[in-house]
């Protein structure tokens, strides 16, 4: 389904702290429900580039969850303030307006769509990148597709979203396992340690891996999957001015040469379609 043409003003329903992150919800009266993996271009109506400063361009943010609202759909976003745009989004107050364009980009494919022999899914999220995996996890659960979820965080300060996005009732969903570099939750180390252990087991070989997180983590996931001959869908990030194919800024090198535009050819990319996930 195509996105409504143009940007529209949506109202902030709420914005609350979640660990070191924020989760804010927008009420979208016009747009269709997004598919897991899709994103929106967001800019606050007020104090966004006014007076000639930054932030100037809208920010591409993956949707973390959605639900029907009394009018339209509710859109939930997980954000961490790491620059002028995300800082401003963190400050959103209920009742103010946000310019929204979307839903944009492609979405995750089910395990069987990726590989007819695949029985289940392994979701691997890192930091703020857990967001699109939350909505994807719900879709998979609703379709009865077996799954495991591995989530990692750098430390307590750079973590959040678990209670709101990955808990059933008051407890972490039983399919979710955690890792943290500082050891504050779950395995002390990288989330990719958990993935490596899982892929070494027999039962994981018929799964498809879905991942979103920092570039170095995604590259580790891509390599692990390639080594084990397992297909993976990676939700990537790239600097992006427009989100609809106009600016050509979000170029990602393709494995067979040339570039794709992540906004219209992604943000979900098959692991074997790229030579590597560029990382510092």
């Amino acid at each position: 389904m195509s996105a409504p043409f143009g940007r529209r003003l949506c109202e902030v329903a709420e914005n609350a702290a979640s660990g070191g992150y924020r989760i804010f919800s927008l009420l979208d009266r016009e747009g269709p429900a997004p598919a897991p993996g899709q994103f929106y271009m967001l800019a606050s109506e007020r104090s966004w580039g006014e007076g000639g400063g930054r932030p100037f361009l809208p920010r591409a943010i993956s949707v973390a969850e959605t639900a029907p609202a009394k009018e339209g759909v509710r859109l939930d976003f997980l954000v961490e303030g790491v620059g002028p745009g995300t800082d401003r989004l963190c400050e959103l107050e209920a009742g103010e307006g946000v310019w929204v364009t979307g839903p944009l980009g492609n979405s995750f494919s089910t395990p069987k769509e990726v590989n007819p022999d695949a029985a289940g899914a392994i979701l691997v999220g890192g930091g703020i990148g857990i967001a699109p995996l939350a909505i994807w996890r719900r879709h998979l659960v609703e379709r009865g597709i077996p799954l495991r979820v591995l989530l990692g965080f750098r430390n307590q300060e750079h973590s959040g979203g678990l209670d709101e996005l990955f808990c059933s009732g008051d407890t972490l969903c039983p399919d979710v396992r955690l890792a943290s570099e500082d050891g504050h939750a779950g395995h002390q180390g990288y989330v990719t340690d958990l993935l490596a252990t899982m892929l070494a087991g027999d039962d994981a070989t018929s799964a498809v891996v879905y991942s979103c997180g920092p570039p170095a983590m995604l590259e580790a996931v891509r390599i692990l999957c390639a080594e084990h001959g397992i297909a993976c869908d990676l939700a990537l990030e790239s600097p992006m001015a427009c989100g609809f194919g106009a600016c050509f800024g979000c170029a990602v090198p393709k494995v067979d040469g040339g570039y794709m535009r992540l906004c219209v050819d992604g943000p979900v990319v098959r692991g074997d379609a790229i030579a590597e996930v560029a990382h510092a």
Partner: protein
Amino acid sequence: MPELCGIELAHPVINASGTYDAIAARKVFGDELLEAFPFSAFVSKTITPEPRAGNAPQRIWETPAGMINSIGLPNKGLEGFLVQDLPQLAELPVPLIVSVMATGRSEFARLVEAVAAREEVAAVELNVSCPNVHSGLIVGEQPAETEALLETLRPLTQKPLIVKLTPNIASPDAVAVAAEAGGADAVSLINTLKASAIDPATGAPALAAGHGGLSGPAVRPIALQQLRAVRAAVELPLIGMGGISSGADAAEFLAAGAALVAVGTESFRDPRAGSRIAKELETAMSGAPARVRALDLQ
């Protein structure tokens, strides 16, 4: 009704080359794009003789009130454009202007001949911000190169030839005079301003290409002055652009002598910016006089 070299247009707002991919936008937004097409004419991304992949990332960088880009003109080349893109662009509800660039006069001629011969194409824009492989000089930075290029291309078509000026020289008006002397039908300005950014995280240039072109409201006063200078120097119709993001901005460019305005970066922030600005412009031109500001320092 505004017009450009005899091409009638519904309103005076078109897009800047390379800032709107109508084919990709139609896939994203569906046919609503055609029903509410934001521009009164569509300018294609620049076409080169052979396909180009474009520059390695990082390609864009946000700046105060603007952005720097070094995209590197990715395109399918002349044959790919004619076969794959032109039929789709022909479905747009507005006249089509095709932007072309080559590094030699004979290659430029091949592009202009092939593109202008197509009935779907209303006009050709010449992107002259490229080096001539023979002289090594950037054509659009040299009045003599520009005039010689126009003299080569002018006999090849009756269709309007628009020269897109570079702002990265001391006297763009001298190049505009040369374009007029060579037989150009119109001039568009400004292209982006050469600019750099340093990534604070690494201390290295933020863009992989080292530098890029600055656009957005940050460049608007510079664009306006270059437009005034060129207006004073030539009789040709001018397409003014550079940071236009509202009807009030567009009105300034028209007041300074532009026949049309083009919108680029603002479309990234608002995919319907073209039609919004056209509507705001209509209100600005027909309504009460704008509030007078003696000093714009409030």
